[in-house]
């Protein structure tokens, strides 16, 4: 024990403190698995040298798939031979990240057999990540995963694993069936998900309402965000109950409505909402979930383009379809995905996300080519410069 502690004096310090320790986790795995032990050693080296010790990944994978595995090689394999290969397998999580213990245990058993015993639940795209195995273990590991009903997620220039918020499974705000949309889209685009064929990665995230609990507007090339078209449902009895309980309706709700669309009558203790001015920001509903409910006519706003900063700057997604009804089999959504990815596939450069392609070629061209109708909801303001184009048929 004294001996072991000396081996990783820096990491050991991360076993202390109240938050669950990943070092303890690595050590638990290391106690049974050589790869995990090697990882521990290499990580300690990184901590000592303040430097990463992995090399670029090579192309490794399983038969029939072009993605789903991230190859990883140590740059100090002589020191840590067991970490020489340390690939991860991305397992497509179930929609909403729901599991039975049975399913989870199956995953654990398989990973105990073929990998380091380390995982990420989950990766930041959404996959269940199995962290650290050898090239020759990939195929048998996948074979068993497949048997247990777990398929691979995305990696490389393909559709990345879609993910969604808990939605109707546990949330009263859900305007769409996020889990079903997520699952159906994942199933529909299995080929695109497993075989990199596009200019770059493409991510889809589905949130049930504008609270956007999967951060789709910041992190998905296609953000599907639930909303409604009709009126907020008001339960005046519950409004009264909030008032009686001493909740500051005026200060916390009315004054904070961005559109000044909530009126509260302190005498009658009733709320009136100007649904025409309301932009469905969710605030009043969030604050008074017992009294206010999202509308009945649910659907989604579709936004395109979010991504991290490299190359042109981080983008958030841009409104493209203000409202789409989403009912199974989600044909309209599927067609939409095909339309936009086809356009991108045709027009995008290598390593160019769809948002970057649209930026480079211009939103007007994108809309024109795809036949999507321009609407003012797409912009916070029309252009300020006079640099727009006329097409031959428009001029003499």
């Amino acid at each position: 024990m004294a001996n072991e502690e000396k081996k990783t004096p820096l990491l050991d310090q991360l076993e202390e403190g109240r938050w669950p320790s990943f070092v303890k986790e690595i050590k638990k795995a290391a106690a049974k698995n050589k790869k995990a032990e090697a990882l521990l050693g290499q990580l300690e080296l990184s901590y000592r040298e303040k430097k990463v010790h992995w090399k670029h990944g090579g192309i490794v994978g399983v038969k029939g798939y072009g993605g789903g595995v991230i190859g990883r090689y140590s740059d100090v394999p002589e020191q840590f031979p067991e970490a020489a290969e340390f690939h991860t397998i991305r397992v497509n999580q179930p929609a909403g990240w729901f599991y039975t213990t049975e399913a989870l245990r199956k995953l654990c058993d398989i990973w105990e057999k073929y990998g380091s015993g380390l995982t990420n639940f989950h990766g930041s795209t959404g996959d269940a990540i199995l962290l650290g195995t050898d090239t020759d273990k990939l195929q048998p590991c996948f074979d068993e995963l497949a048997e247990a009903g777990f398929d691979l997620g995305g990696s490389g220039s393909d559709l990345r694993t879609p993910s969604c918020c808990v939605g109707p499974a546990r949330c009263e705000f859900a305007c769409i069936d996020t889990l079903d949309v997520c699952h159906e889209i994942t199933m529909e685009f299995q080929n695109e998900l497993h075989r990199p064929m596009w200019p770059y990665k493409f991510k889809i995230k589905i949130a049930g309402c504008p609270n956007d609990c999967v951060a789709s507007i910041a992190r998905a090339d296609l953000s599907v965000i639930g909303t409604w078209r009709d009126a907020i449902r008001v339960n005046q009895e519950e409004v009264k109950a909030y008032a009686e309980a001493g909740f500051d309706i005026q200060g916390l709700v009315v004054d904070k409505c961005p559109k000044k669309a909530v009126k509260y009558n302190a005498e009658t203790r009733e709320i009136v909402i100007d649904n025409e001015s309301c932009t469905r920001c969710m605030h009043c509903i969030n604050e008074m979930p017992k009294a206010l409910r999202v509308g009945k006519e649910g659907g989604a706003t579709l936004l395109i383009g979010a991504k991290a900063p490299i190359v042109k700057s981080a983008f958030m997604s841009w409104v493209i379809i203000p409202f789409m009804e989403l009912k199974p089999p989600y044909t309209e959504l599927k067609d939409f995905i095909r339309t936009i990815t086809d356009w991108w596939d045709e027009n995008g450069k290598t390593r160019e996300r769809i948002g970057e392609t649209i930026y480079r070629l211009g939103m007007p061209k994108f809309l024109r080519d795809t036949g999507i109708k321009p609407v003012p909801q797409m912009v916070t303001a029309p252009r300020a410069n006079p640099y727009y184009f006329w097409y031959p048929e428009e001029v003499k």
Partner: protein, 352 residues
């Protein structure tokens, strides 16, 4: 070859009965205490959710441990959240207290709901990525130790979402977080001219550079980097292993603040640079933990109830944010990339 393209298990086979029965029928929710939510259905059914902090980088032992708990208290069902917390889903109110006790015994933190700091969305770092300018797991562990009380209690004006990304690829998608911590380099890549033409495609290398700092060097069949134009993003290294950029002496982290994702009240916002650099100081990243704590405390003291970090700053103005936090404002805070002019102040409206 095994079958392919069968997709993930169908969610309906994994959700507990109470959810099956009340799917889409939820009426409202309450936070019973930090970390414990009660959702009530139109049918009258009540679902209790207990949220537990996870290290995310978990051994199978850990997963099995939580399975054990789920078997005992939530009929073998559980889920993970979009911020990697674990949620036990209970249809029996009576099981809530015993579960909380068991979790306390096991040292698992309950919280992350309501006006808390929830789990930190983060990335691989030195644990698994070649690209990392800092470690993610160690930084997050150190941060969450320091912010523990903010996770288990609700003592902030609103939720505070923290994210960590270990390089500018920003896999943690930190760019719209209340507090974002990003691993950064501070010196241009070093070029291995010998190797470059063997392992890299020169045109893609050149195209990879956001600032056009890379020019071909036909003599060496390689490229050169203009050090005046390079801002160390590492994208050339992402496409070309012969341009290593990691540098123990100079790598570290930057802190951005004021982003958000929800559409509640205000539109989603990007996080903005607050602290250009703090050193990598493993294993505990003391300066970074202190800085984040300080950022949180100033917000907690000054924001109005319900205000998100960025909403608070927008109300008081960035000049007051820098005054209140005591952080220096430097030329680095001023944008000089593509959209820079849209961040310049084009009004005489400001505070002293």
């Amino acid at each position: 070859m095994s079958r392919t393209d069968f997709g993930p298990p169908h969610y309906s086979t994994l959700i507990p009965d109470i959810i099956k029965e009340n799917y889409g029928k939820w009426l409202y929710h309450e936070q019973i205490r930090p970390g414990v939510l009660k959702h009530v259905s139109e049918t009258g059914a009540e679902l209790y959710t207990v949220r537990v902090g996870s290290p995310r980088l978990a051994s199978i032992d850990f997963i099995r441990e939580i399975c054990e708990i789920a078997d005992k208290y939530s009929k073998g069902h559980l889920r993970f959240t979009s911020r990697h917390n674990i949620e036990f889903l209970l249809d029996d109110k009576e099981m809530v207290e015993p579960l909380l006790e068991e979790l306390a015994r096991r040292g698992l933190p309950v919280g992350g709901t309501g006006h808390s700091v929830s789990n930190i969305v983060h990335t691989q770092g030195w644990v698994h990525c070649h690209s990392a300018a800092t470690d993610a797991s160690g930084l997050v562990k150190s941060l969450m130790d320091g912010l523990y009380d903010y996770f288990v209690e609700n003592k902030l004006p609103n939720m505070v979402r923290i994210a960590v990304a270990c390089c500018l690829n920003m896999c943690g998608a930190v760019h719209c977080s209340d507090i974002a911590i990003v691993g950064i380099h501070r010196k241009p890549p070093r070029i291995d001219h010998e190797r470059l033409h063997k392992v890299c495609e020169i045109p893609s290398v050149i195209q990879s550079c956001p600032t056009g700092a890379i020019k071909p060097n036909p003599k060496l069949k390689s490229v050169d980097v203009n050090p005046d134009k390079c801002m160390y993003c590492g994208n050339c290294y992402t496409v070309c292993p012969a341009m290593p950029i990691a540098d123990p002496e100079n790598d570290g982290v930057a802190i951005f603040v004021g982003g958000k994702v929800s559409n509640a009240r205000t539109a989603p916002k990007f996080s903005r640079l607050a602290i250009p650099y703090l050193p990598n100081n493993p294993p505990r990243w003391t300066e970074t933990v202190e800085a984040v704590k300080h950022l949180l405390e100033v917000y907690a003291e000054n924001a109005l109830p319900g205000e998100r970090y960025g909403e608070w700053i927008e109300r008081i103005g960035w000049e007051r944010f820098f005054k209140l936090t005591g952080l220096p404002f430097t030329e680095k805070h001023i944008d000089d990339f593509i959209f820079a002019p849209t961040t310049f102040r084009t009004t005489t409206q400001f505070n002293w």
